[in-house]
């Protein structure tokens, strides 16, 4: 956990006071809705189809049990008893009243949680691997760098009115769980030939209506230079990014129009003029941030305790254990994923009761620490393996032990037309129907790893471009239609999926997904050839034939 200090809590209090004043001015009519808009957005407040929505940042996906209980409290007191975890390590409350917002944000600030810069054309919540600090083989704990970036970017006086939103993600593993290649800036911690730790910096990735995979702008930036280098990128973008057209305003378009080489030269020139300034990081600053991340006092435990051996005789426990528990860097411990994808449920939703129960289980079995991943699931980063059977019973009792992590029913979906004022089509009911079709865990296991991502509009909050199967809702003559892509991926081999054919109506989407999955089961070389690898080997044609044959 990151331990907030007086600086952090003072700033949050000051921010809440400012926001309270802004809401007061809006309610009294001193501010027009238009003037209020960019102010509320910078505090995570959207105006959605039915109500104001509050988006709360969970920096680098790390939550304490105390913070989780406060989320439950906000859901219960100010909302309708639930929240929605998003693809960006945020949580959204969909039904908050404008007049309640200052109190809700004050309650959240009391435990170090806030909605600052979860919206608006500024540097958004910095995200990372939900397994940060516990995954085997990491170069460093990427949260230290995400925290430095969080502080650097919070209320930045130069970069709070950028041409468009700006998203930064950090990974420190060979296997990228943070999707850094689809961010405005992606950072990959690694060691260079001399064994020195630093960052590969990628720029210009993003989804939306013009998807791009990020390009490497500099293969190695030393740790002392990372903030100055990012400042240089932002300064070039702030001055030269397009502001004439909202759809061409992201940095990916500037990088594309200038070309990565010319863009890199502009950044380099800027960087050389600031690299030795006040923003250069010395080791003492890095060490201070590092010292405020507290790690559990791990015990020396056996990796295969009796409690676990006995419990594995139960096939239901075994199915969950195999699916939802991953290797931890410390022997005797596991990383546990909590599926927020129950069959027939809206992906990423949790009720206040679930949040409270999760906080209690985290205290009992997981050192009080909870993580949120971009796949819209939660995670207990450190659980002693001997405690897994008891934990599993607790998770199962509140419906977050569905053994479908990374399987076909572990669907990413945006809120879609059920909530969102931008959406063209529903996303949640499509996800719910697909999970019903693949409710049988044996079938899902037979299919293996398969990521379905659903967006209700071209803005791509559901990351459809990088789903192994991607589903995009569009509107045609007042009806919901869905385009289907296959072969996308968001990891270290990130690629945008390929459209398989004309859009299909709402009622056909689940059928098409079933056809594609059946085609894969017929076409794969071996049971362990993943869907994504079969698509890569064969291209889209054989899938297209199957999907449209039965149309």
């Amino acid at each position: 956990m990151y331990i907030h200090d007086e600086f952090d809590s003072t700033l949050l209090k000051e921010r809440v006071d400012e926001f309270r004043d802004q809401v007061r001015r809006r309610l009294s009519g001193e501010l027009t809705e238009d003037e209020f808009k960019s102010l509320r957005l910078m505090n995570g407040v959207y105006l959605q189809l039915h109500a104001y929505m509050l988006r709360i940042a969970i920096p680098y996906g790390t939550l304490s049990s105390t913070q989780m209980r406060m989320l439950a409290h906000v859901a219960r007191k100010y909302d309708r008893g639930y929240g929605h975890f998003t693809t960006r390590q945020n949580i959204q409350f969909n039904w908050i009243k404008l007049s309640d917002l200052p109190d809700a944000t004050a309650d959240l600030a009391s435990v170090g949680v806030h909605g600052i810069q979860t919206s608006g054309n500024c540097i958004r919540n910095v995200t990372t691997d939900q397994w940060a600090g516990v995954a085997p083989g990491e170069v460093d704990d990427p949260r230290i760098w995400a925290e430095l970036l969080r502080q650097y970017s919070t209320l930045h006086p130069e970069f709070s009115f950028l041409p468009r939103k700006f998203k930064i993600a950090v990974t420190a593993s060979d296997h990228d769980r943070a999707a850094v290649k689809i961010h405005d800036i992606g950072l990959r911690l690694h060691r260079n030939g001399a064994g020195e730790m630093g960052f590969e910096v990628l720029v210009g990735g993003g989804l939306g209506r013009t998807p791009f995979i990020g390009k490497t702008i500099k293969p190695f930036v030393a740790r002392r230079d990372i903030l100055t280098y990012i400042e240089a990128i932002l300064r070039v973008y702030n001055q030269y990014g397009r502001r004439d057209n909202i759809y061409k305003a992201r940095i990916k378009i500037l990088v594309h129009e200038l070309g990565i080489d010319k863009f890199a030269r502009e950044v380099e020139d800027e960087w050389l003029s600031i690299k030795d300034g006040a923003l250069a990081l010395d080791e003492a600053v890095i060490a201070d941030i590092r010292s405020r991340f507290k790690y559990p006092a791990y015990e020396k435990l056996t990796d295969n305790p009796d409690e676990l051996k006995q419990a594995l005789a139960d096939p239901t426990f075994k199915a969950w254990y195999r699916n939802s528990v991953s290797h931890h860097r410390v022997p005797g411990y596991g990383i546990v994923t909590l599926s927020l994808k129950p069959v027939g449920g809206p992906p990423g939703d949790a009720t206040a009761e679930q949040m409270d129960a999760i906080a209690d289980l985290a205290d009992r079995y997981a050192f009080g620490e909870i993580r949120v991943g971009h796949e819209q699931n939660l995670c207990f980063p450190s659980v002693a393996k001997r405690d897994l059977p008891a934990l599993w019973r607790g998770l199962d009792a509140i419906g977050v032990a569905t053994p479908n992590v990374n399987l076909v029913s572990d669907i990413i979906a945006c809120p879609g037309l059920d909530y969102c004022s931008l959406a063209n089509a529903r996303a949640i009911p499509v996800a719910q129907e697909i999970t019903r079709r693949f409710a049988d865990h044996d079938t899902a296991n037979l299919i293996g790893r398969l990521h379905i991502n659903i967006s209700g509009c071209i803005n791509a909050c559901g990351h459809h471009h990088v789903g192994h199967i991607g589903i995009l809702g569009v509107e045609k003559n007042g009806e919901e239609f869905y385009q289907v892509t296959i072969g996308g991926r968001a990891d270290e081999g990130a690629v945008v999926g390929t459209l398989i054919g004309p859009a299909v109506p709402y009622a056909q989407v689940a059928n098409v997904v079933e056809d594609i999955v059946e085609a894969y089961l017929d076409l794969r070389l071996r049971p362990d050839e993943l869907f994504i690898d079969t698509v890569k080997r064969l291209g889209v044609e054989p899938f297209k034939e199957r999907a449209y044959a039965t149309g």
């Binding site: 600086f7 000051e14 400012e18 130069e158 970069f159 009115f161 300064r235 702030n238 502001r243 201070d288």
Partner: protein
Amino acid sequence: MPLVKGGQIVADRYVRILDDAPIPANGAMLVPAERFLADASELIARQAETGVIWPNNRDIDELGPYLDRLALVALVFPKFQDGRAYSQARILRERLGYRGELRATGQVLRDQFVFMLRAGFDTFEVKKEADAKVFGEVAQRYSVFYQPTGDGRSPAFRQRLQGFATRAPALRGAGR
């Protein structure tokens, strides 16, 4: 539109000269960038103060050769959401070493004061009278800053190493 300087509403001494109007021999004046660049040598030779209104889509480095003779640079916020002039301000202060008056003009509202002060602005043509009146109070709203800028305040990441005892003074231009 009220002008705020040193936290107080003050009279604007500068007269704005349009592109083709004659240049007065005396008195502080403010001219658009194109006019300034066209007659720069003549303008900076005047005995009275000269200022320039610099648009936010023009390279601020072009002003470099004239900065030591300019009394005022006015940067423009055509919309609240258009933040290009924040970068221009920091470049002027921190790279080009400009020490004269740096004025924020256009859509200038109370919610930007802290950002603008930190970016190096010291005078403000405030859109709303009510915002101008609360300038001093709003400018003091924050006591914690996470990033270093040319305003000289020590960011939190350095202050932590020194302890709370050495908090930086109030924002320059905040008037207290």
